[in-house]
């Protein structure tokens, strides 16, 4: 139970304590924005094309350079990889990532399109890098993701973070 009565897990606090226990002297600095942009859709959901963006990687790790630094990658929603690189910070003791739909809901989107809830699904899903550099995210990765989403004619993006 937290001070505010919620049971939400204090991930930032736990992560700081964990890295101190690993022997790091400096705390991780999470991105923080005082001003958050907000764009209203111009269509109803039933008319919108939605692009999926996930933090998972391709199984062959081809989104990484020789130093392990990641770049934006894409895959086809009609032919996604059978498995994904999910070597990220998630709760590996409590669950698993064997079901792609839990972090890249292509099937769920297909059902919602079939029901008419959503207009259509963009033909590519996009993999977002999870490097530690805020500057790289802002100056390189985010613009590239936006470019790919727009190239697919999407009206909005759904980001599902592992």
């Amino acid at each position: 139970m937290n001070d505010d009565g919620s049971q939400d897990i204090p991930y930032m606090q736990r992560t700081r304590a964990y890295y101190r226990a690993l022997g790091y002297d400096n705390d991780y600095v999470w991105a923080h924005f005082a001003d958050v942009p907000f764009t209203r859709p111009t269509k109803s959901l039933g008319q919108m094309r939605i692009a999926l963006v996930t933090t998972a990687g391709p199984p062959d790790r081809s989104n990484r350079n020789e130093k392990g630094r990641k770049r934006v990658w894409s895959g086809e929603v009609d032919a996604p990889p059978a498995t994904f690189d999910t070597d990220l910070a998630w709760d590996k003791e409590s669950t698993h990532t064997d079901d792609r739909e839990t972090f890249l809901p292509i099937g769920a989107m297909g059902r919602l399109v079939g029901e008419g809830v959503v207009g259509s699904l963009a033909p590519h899903f996009i993999g977002a890098p999870t490097d530690y550099s805020h500057a790289k995210t802002l100056s390189a990765d985010a613009p590239e993701i936006l470019r790919r989403v727009q190239a697919d004619g999407a009206d909005a993006a759904l980001l599902t973070a592992l």
Binding site: Q7, Y11, M12, Y18, G23, T39, P105, V118
Partner: protein
């Protein structure tokens, strides 16, 4: 470009600040629903995308109605620190620093 985030680390997402956030109070790894539960996954995505039509301002957070399990023990598990593991954790950190080419631990 209108966006929605579906995720489970509420404090981190809200610290960053995003336009629309559907919060799944689950262990990190399965923000879109329990593994192999297609009905829950569809409903979760439906709730998330619904924020495109209902949110009127940035930093809109909605909590998903779904729970993880009856057993709440998972809440204490992620990144827990057992004092008995002190040396083991330091060794993990040393290996991590070496792999990443970072300076060795000072103390």
């Amino acid at each position: 470009m209108p966006t929605v985030v579906i995720g489970s680390a509420r404090d981190i997402v809200e610290h960053c600040g995003v336009p629309r956030f559907l919060y799944s109070d689950f262990p990190l790894g399965n923000p879109c629903g329990h593994p192999w539960n297609a009905a829950m996954q569809s409903e979760t995505v439906r709730l998330g995308l619904g924020l495109l039509e209902t949110a009127t301002a940035p930093r809109t957070t909605v909590r998903s109605p779904f729970e993880w399990r009856d057993d709440p023990s998972w809440r204490d598990r992620y990144n827990r620190i057992d004092p008995a593991d002190r040396e083991k954790l330091l060794a993990i950190g040393d290996a991590r620093r070496a792999k990443r080419g970072q300076a060795p631990r000072q103390s």
